[in-house]
């Protein structure tokens, strides 16, 4: 049988479950999670690190998964939107119209969730520093701004 030296197997934690998966060494985490494992909640808006739609949490830290090689997730805790249920952030995004088309939403929710875990009392400047990593084309950001503030209150 032919062996491919660049095809590897890796174990990591995905949304609290242990996952073993195989992929080529040059594949990004976004690609592996979407196309090898099949969780498609995180989107590739630009595949270039500009839009943030692919944001996942790596040990709780938001990372643009289109820029991270999957092999760098070895042994790490990876969280995607599928790993969040009924969080204050998700509820607030619904209540405050923090989305329209929904394509950037998974990325915004992940980043906001991580932000409020790290800085529950984040001031406006901190919120702006974090959330300016993500692009939304629909909302004009008012709904997102209000959602972050609401989630902050309801943590």
């Amino acid at each position: 049988m032919k062996q491919y030296e660049d095809h590897i197997q890796m174990e990591f934690s995905l949304n609290g479950e242990r996952v073993t998966t195989r992929f080529d060494v040059d594949e990004t985490l976004l690609h592996v999670v979407r196309n090898r494992i099949g969780l498609k909640g995180q989107k590739g808006g630009c595949l270039n690190g500009d839009c943030g739609a692919c944001t996942m949490l790596i040990d709780g830290v938001p990372v643009k998964s289109c820029l991270m090689l999957a092999i760098d997730a070895e042994g790490k805790e990876v969280t995607t939107i599928e790993g969040l249920k009924d969080t204050p952030v998700q509820k607030a995004f619904v209540a405050k119209q923090g989305f329209q088309c929904g394509y950037c939403t998974s990325g915004f929710v992940m980043n906001t969730h991580a932000l409020l875990q790290a800085h529950p009392d984040a001031d406006e400047e901190t919120i702006q520093n974090w959330l300016s990593a993500n692009l939304c084309r629909c909302t004009g950001y008012e709904g997102i701004e209000e959602a972050v503030k609401m989630a902050q209150k309801n943590l």
């Binding site: 619904v94 329209q100 008012e142």
Partner: protein
């Protein structure tokens, strides 16, 4: 249970909220079909060149490569209103990024590797990069065969030119108006081409099954247009084309018309009908798929001594880029609305769609109005300055009213929105518009402008709705309208709940659309979705009620006229406690002995635009404008005159929308429009070098607004009913963008004391007083 609060005017929770915040909303690019092949494209690095030779021999040897095809394999031309675009370039490339060859492979990575090995030899020509160059008498023709292309009758290509459509508006006596004027001004503006930047990149899959059915799944705003055009261009019986559209991640016009679907079909056909996915990279999405038009325009205004407008002369030259797509109708729409919302009795407009060797354009939120209003409102401000009139006063004085006629001489009726009311709301917020304040070396200034927007659509634009019922008496709405984020599906639920007088949890709605099972619907475009699909849905609910009354009449033995409905029941007016629940009659009434009558309720609703006509090719006279959404924008800026750096402190919009169905969603649409308008005006637009190569085809260099750059938004709605809209509503998805460039320009112009006319308004331009105009 009686409904104690009308579902209309209520902040109903979005029907798609839960799936969108959990990542469960499925988009085209998330879908996989067994055996699906992937694609990558060789793009032209040149803006204008002859293709001498394409060598695919090395590329085709790579593992996983199924086929490599070039444009020569597909003799068909595609186009929305004008068939000017080959499936892929044939013999000539007309813009940077144009597809010259496609690789179909097992994986995307294999396809991309093969693309890198395709060698293309070009004979480079000098590209035409501006509208003014394209209009020179000796300009090379980008489409020498312009007269041979198939067009719809509304499009009038100009032989021997780079103009695929010229729209003329001739109303009154323009020379007399200018001859009698006490004041005249002339003002020119420009806008670069740019991109929609919907967050979801366009994607389409196609497979052709053994029965000959063509299955397309696409991120489209217009699945029925896709079905219709694929049928025409590829000679497929329309009933054999099934277009599925799941969730769509923003469109803004960029996913209207025909996008990647024709290409996906051609490529699937080239591999025997196997499933093929075409998914744009962000870079492809920006330059290979169409963006928005540019404009070079000059407006001359004539006014009497009091500032009453006497005449408008407009030269609107829209930059279409290399292909016409929607652009030939956008330049027409700009002409039809070409005075802005003012009464002008004498009008002379030439509006051209102009080919250049830049990436091509399609519909964009505002459909030609954003560009035209910038040109008109800049001139209005210069006129006000010249006469010494307040910017609010001159607009209030000339505001269009019921009984006035539009540039195409169609008479405005009672449904006309209240522009003066909108101007008053903005003025109330901003106070004295002419006030200029010095703040720590910076200048604070304000502006007020007017806007209007009408759909520019086929005269037979239609929508349909089917209402079916469940055993609990709840119903399901099936329409052909696409949800791209605007919230129409939630609005449909509210309209049907209102009509049936049930709570909204008794009304279900299908988000996805499949053209074989959904009723025909033109498109999510022209801010028409809730007005037209909503009209059809309300009619379907009324039809369903009619059928339920029939059943109730038979069972209760009481004439229909003595029955009423509410709280999910049909009951006797005289004895409200005697009645039948919807659950008892929705699927046929079953008597205690088992006998059943009437069967299930199926509500049918239709909408078709009424009394629309084309326009006269010499004068523009006609009635192409179904409804106008009218309003006003106000802006407050704080600008540092030394650095040119400025902040938009306030953005205000007052709009007459007829009826607000869902205040939060309506506000969201308007704010979204305004933010897009800010980006369009101050950050965006394509940059290109002297060879016509786009140099900012990504979201790092082509900046859109980021979190933290948003101003304080204020939105106000007036409700002058649209008499032909469901419950009086009219479209509101687009107009909120249309006045933004003008409002920002006018505020900056006031702050800096000189006209700011060339988008984008970057700090560099603002700081350099004599910047290149």
């Amino acid at each position: 249970m009686e409904v104690n609060q009308s579902p209309l005017g209520r902040n109903e929770r979005r029907v798609d909220a839960d799936v969108k915040v959990t990542g469960q909303a499925v988009f085209t690019g998330d879908m996989y079909v067994s055996g699906m092949l992937h694609t990558a494209f060789k793009r032209s690095p040149h803006a204008f060149a002859k293709i001498v030779r394409i060598d695919t021999s090395e590329a085709s040897k790579l593992p996983g490569v199924k086929r490599i095809v070039t444009g020569e394999e597909f003799p068909t031309n595609l186009g929305l209103y004008m068939g000017d675009k080959p499936v892929m370039a044939r013999g000539v490339v007309r813009h940077y990024g144009e597809h010259v060859a496609a690789v179909i492979a097992d994986t995307k990575k294999q396809a991309e590797a093969a693309v890198n090995l395709i060698k293309v030899e070009y004979e480079i020509k000098k590209p035409i990069l501006s509208v003014s160059d394209a209009l020179q008498a000796d300009a090379e023709l980008i489409h020498p065969d312009i007269m041979s292309y198939a067009t719809i009758p509304a499009i009038i290509p100009q032989e021997g030119t780079n103009v695929p459509n010229l729209t003329k508006i001739r109303k009154g006596d323009i020379d007399k108006a200018f001859g009698e004027a006490a004041h005249t001004v002339k003002s020119s503006v420009s806008i670069p081409i740019g991109d929609h930047v919907a967050m979801e990149r366009r994607a389409a899959t196609c497979r052709i099954t053994a029965d000959g059915d063509v299955h397309i799944t696409s991120s489209t705003q217009a699945p029925f247009v896709v079905k219709s055009l694929l049928g025409i261009f590829f000679n497929i019986p329309p009933g054999k084309i099934i277009v599925d559209t799941p969730f769509v991640g923003g469109g803004f016009g960029g996913k209207a018309g025909l996008q990647l679907e024709g290409l996906a079909y051609a490529l699937s056909k080239s591999v025997g009908g196997r499933p093929v996915m075409v998914e744009n990279s962000r870079e492809d999405d920006m330059v290979t798929s169409p963006g928005h038009m540019g404009l070079e325009a000059t407006v001359e205004l004539a006014a009497d001594s009091q500032g009453k407008l006497l005449g408008l002369r407009g030269e609107y030259n829209y930059n279409s880029g290399a292909y016409a797509d929607y652009a030939v109708n956008i330049s027409r729409a700009g002409a039809i609305a070409g005075t802005g919302p003012y009464r002008v009795d004498n009008v002379h407009i030439d509006s051209r769609c102009v080919y250049t060797n830049l990436p091509f354009s399609t519909a964009f939120r505002g459909f030609g109005h954003i560009e035209m209003i910038f040109a008109v409102e800049r001139a209005m401000s210069e006129l006000a300055n010249k006469i010494g009139l307040d910017p609010y006063e001159i607009r209030h004085k000339n505001a269009i009213q019921p009984g006035d006629t539009t540039p195409v001489q169609s008479l405005l009726g009672r449904s006309t929105g209240n522009l003066r009311g909108c101007l008053d709301l903005v003025k109330n917020e901003l106070g004295d518009i002419t006030e200029v304040e010095q703040v720590d070396g910076k200048i604070r200034a304000k502006s007020i402008v007017s806007f209007w927007k009408a759909p520019a659509m086929p005269t037979n634009t239609d929508a349909g709705a089917i209402l079916t019922f469940n055993i609990d008496g709840s119903c399901n709405i099936n329409t052909g309208i696409i949800e791209i984020g605007q919230g129409t599906k939630t609005g449909l639920v509210q309209l049907v709940a209102e009509t049936l007088r049930v709570e909204t949890d008794m009304v279900h709605v299908e988000i996805g659309v499949r053209t074989r099972t959904s009723p025909t619907d033109w498109a999510t475009a022209a801010s028409r979705a809730l007005m037209m699909a909503g009209s059809a849905a309300v009619e379907a609910a009324q039809d369903a009620l009619d059928q339920m009354y029939d059943t109730a009449e038979a069972v209760l033995k009481v004439p229909k006229r003595l029955l009423d409905h509410g709280g999910g029941r049909i009951f006797e007016k005289d004895h409200p406690d005697i009645g039948l629940s919807f659950a008892e009659i929705a699927l046929g009434y079953v008597y205690p002995d088992g006998n059943t009558i009437k069967g299930q309720i199926i509500g049918r609703g239709r909408y078709v635009a009424h009394k629309l006509t084309g326009i006269d090719p010499d004068t523009g006279q006609g009635h192409p404008d179904l409804e106008w959404t009218i309003g006003s924008h106000g802006i407050q800026v704080l600008v540092d005159p030394n650095t040119g750096i400025f902040e938009i402190e306030r953005a205000i919009c007052a709009m007459d929308v007829g009826k607000v169905v869902n205040p939060d969603l309506a506000r969201g649409q308007v704010i979204g429009s305004m933010s897009m308008g800010i980006g369009y005006t101050i950050y965006e637009g394509f940059k290109f070098n002297s060879r016509g190569q786009i140099t900012n085809e990504n979201l790092r260099d082509h900046k859109i607004m980021r979190y933290g750059q948003q101003p304080k938004y204020d939105v106000f709605f007036l409700e002058t009913p649209q008499l032909d809209g469901p419950y009086g509503l009219r479209g509101l998805g687009e107009p909120g963008i249309t006045g933004m460039p003008a409002a920002i320009s006018n505020a900056l112009s006031r702050a800096l004391g000189r006209p700011i006319r060339h988008i984008p308004f970057t700090p560099e331009k603002l700081a350099m007083e004599d910047h290149h105009e």
